[in-house]
Each structure stands twice: as C-alpha cells, then as structure tokens.
Amino acid sequence: MTESTSKGTSETADQSESAAVMAAPAIEAPLAILAELTHRCSFQCPYCSNPLEMEKKEKELDTKTWCRVIDEAVEMGMHQIHFSGGEPTLRDDLEQLVEHATQAGLYCNLITASSPRLDEDRLRRLGELGLEHVQLSFDDVEAENANRIGGAKGGHERKLLTAAWVKACGLPLTVNAVMHRQNIHHIKEMIDMAVELGAARLEVAQVQYYGWALKNRAAFIPTPAQLDKTTKIVEEARERLKGKLVIDYVIPDYYAKRPKVCMGGWGRRFVNISPSGLALPCHAAETIPELEFDSVKDHSLAWIWENSPAFQRFRGTDWMPDPCRSCDRKEIDWGGCRCQAYALTGDAANTDPACELSPFHEKIFGMAEKEAEEEAPEFIYRRFGVTFNTPH
C-alpha cells in the first residue's frame, strides 16, 4: 500500500504510484485541487500564507465557474478537493460547491478557521451534502493569547464552539495547531485540547515563512532549544496516543537538514486556484515575480496543467542547478520550496536554503536563530474581511 498526502504541507515523502500505462504525454494528473474560494477572513493571522496583495470580493469566481473547474478536475482524474481561503465559509455558495464536488466524485475537505457564517446547522447541511472532513485551526489554548495572535475578538471561543458542532454533526475533525514562539510553550496543552475536542487527527504545523509569515518572521521563529523540546513532547504523545489521535508534525524547515517536499514537487501533485481563478502551482506562488499565471476563466484546467508556463517552470528536475542537479534526493524533495528560495536568496531557481547543502543555509540559519533569541516584535496583522462583531 502506498500512501500520499493530498495536501502539500506535510513532510511525508511521496512515493506514490506511477501507473502510467500510456506511452505518450507523461505529465500525470494532480491528486487534489485546493480551491481558495475567497481571501476574505474573520481572522487576521499574521502567519497567513495568502499573498500580501489580496484579491477583492468583486473579483471572486462565480458559482458556475467553480462548478466547471470541479468537473474538469474530476475529468483529469483528481481525487480530492480542499475548500480553503481565506475563510471558505464566508462564501454563500459553499453548499452548492460541496454538493457539486461530491456528486462529481471528489472527496471534500473543508479547511476553516471558523467564522460568523459557520454554525451547527450549516455544518450539518454540508455533511448531508457530502462534506467528508473538517480541518479547524487553533492559535492557542488560552483565549486571550489566541485572540491576540488571530487578531479576532471572540475568535477562540468561536473555534471551540465550531469544534463541538463538527463532532455533533458526526464529521471527522482535524485540529490544526499553528505553532511558533508565541504559543509553543503550550504544545502539551494543545495536544490535550485536540483529544478533548474529539479530534481524530492533529496537525502540529510550525509556521512556514512566506507571505505574511515572512513579514512577521522575527515574531514567530522559535529557538532550536524550544523546537527540540516541542519535538520530544510530540513524539511522546504520538506513542501514548497511538490509535487514538494521529499526529502529523511539521517542523520549521529553517532547522531541518533537508528541505520539505513542498507540494509533492512543483506541478506534480496539486493545483491551487486563487479566488479570482488564477491557477497556481502552490498557494504562495504569486510571491515569485518572474511567474505569470493563467486563469481558469481563459483555459481549461487540463490545458493549464500541461501548458501554463508557471507550472512548467520548475516541474521535474531539468531546471535544477547544483547542488540539486547532482543530488540523489532530487526526486524525493524536488529541490524543496521555490517560494522560499526566492524569498531568501532572490532567485526562485536556487536550491531551497533550508537544505544544508545550499550555500545560503548557514547565513539564513544564523539570521533566524538570532531573531529567535531577541525580543519578539509586534505583529503586522493581515486585515481583510469581516470580523466577528461586524454585520455582513
């Protein structure tokens, strides 16, 4: 049995099948589509992976176009759809999209931070229409700190309610714990909370530094000592909770020896559609200025997957410089993260500096470690969307 992750954020090395029976065009279809329905959100998380320039509501794709994109994804052989954002539950047509995707044969996952538009009735309806799984993010176990981080008054309380509703509707719950230096001391309590909330899965995700998170890196990056302590606690909990709670653990790749397998390889496993319809090889791809993206408004998904220059640019191994080119791991990690290579070295075609073979690795590691030791600066908040106390 081979196992793949259907979202690009996990560390799991992808050794999926290559059951290409056909001889000719060899670009295998992606496994999953990430549908970023909107950039609007009730929260203002300073670690958000959305681009700094967000797309306005008026530019969002309409229901009909999303349905066409879903049909095209199925036609290509994709398995799963992740409804994400921004906050996907701020779209009034989420029900229609879940129903359409389910009937077309996709496995539907909702990635939410909670919102004023998500309550028990709506969750139950979504479950009836075919939603299979809910992934809910948390910022801390203490409301005050959580709401300071998420920048939303009453946000933590709403998340707790939402978790209870998810369970009441019989939907499986994954708790997504976004960890960094401002909450990492509560990792043990976060694990306990996931158990208490009845989650079957916990994703302990250290902040990854692009988009808003890179802007706020000094406020987030933990020290290597904090990270080691966290890793020990997670490993102990994994053993103790075996068969009860599955824990996925993503370390900040600044402190890794090898880069993460970003998106399972560029243009290889996933396609991300932005709220306005741009097809991106990953949700942060717009941070790379040299890339131009095609829209699902102008082309079919299959055409984009095979022909869009943005997807071709870093697909496979031909683009790689050394040390990647001669590395025996080049078809394991696919050179790591292109967005991070651009953000930290100024050239998206460089080896991801998270790799210790990168000539930039030492310098960047030193810089981040220094930031981690200094006092944390104030957050720069991502403000875009409705708040919990604002009528809409």
């Binding site: 049995m1 081979t2 196992e3 793949s4 992750t5 259907s6 979202k7 996990s10 999926s16 099948e17 059951a19 029976v21 279809a29 496994l31 999953a32 199925v74 036609e75 290509m76 052989g77 398995h79 799963q80 992740h82 044969g105 496995y107 996952n109 299979e132 799984h133 992934q135 019989g170 939907l171 499986p172 994954t174 158990v195 208490e196 009845g198 079957a200 899965r201 075996k242 068969g243 009860k244 709670l245 599955v246």
Partner: protein
C-alpha cells in the same frame, strides 16, 4: 476520543464513514480516500478491503480467502491483522 482499535481474529473491521474505497475511472485505479491522505492498495490489500462489510470478522474473512487462494488460513489471518492494525492506527479502520 475512542480507545485504540486492536485487531484480532474476532474483530469486525470496517472503514469509518469518512474513509472511502473508490474506483477512479479516469485513472483506472482503486484508491482509499481519507482526510488529506490517499492510499493506493496493492492487489492483496484491495481484496481484503473490498471484503470489509461491517459484519464479517477477521477469522471469517481469512477462512474465505484461504479457500479462494488455496493458502493456510493462519498465514492469511496474520497478514490481514498486520494490514488492518497499521490502518487502524492511522484512523482508517474502525470496529
């Protein structure tokens, strides 16, 4: 939170409602779909997974497959338990 599912001969295993064994027409391939995971069963695993109906216990299934494939039931039962315990620990099998 539920207790760990321990698979033995008496266990009646099944896929939880949110884990789907599906045939992908476009790829001509069976897959197990779970939250953020995708499993591609090999031929043996597929035969076992297809037999899970929430009624038959592991020993019954092992007996049937032993007959069908002319192999010792104890060996098959051991293989089934190993496969299903691994899946149960990831939340892909319940009893």
């Amino acid at each position: 939170m539920t207790d760990r599912v321990l698979i033995s001969g008496d266990t009646v295993p099944k896929l939880p409602s949110h884990v789907k064994l599906r045939f992908n027409k476009q790829r001509d391939q069976w897959v197990v779909l779970a939250p953020e995971r995708l499993l591609v069963p090999d031929e043996t695993s597929l035969v076992i997974l297809q037999r899970l109906d929430g009624e038959a216990c592991v020993s019954t299934i092992a007996g049937e497959l032993a007959e069908k494939y002319a192999a010792p039931a104890e060996v098959i039962e051991k293989d089934i338990i190993e496969l299903l315990q691994g899946l149960a620990d990831k939340g892909f099998i319940v009893s």
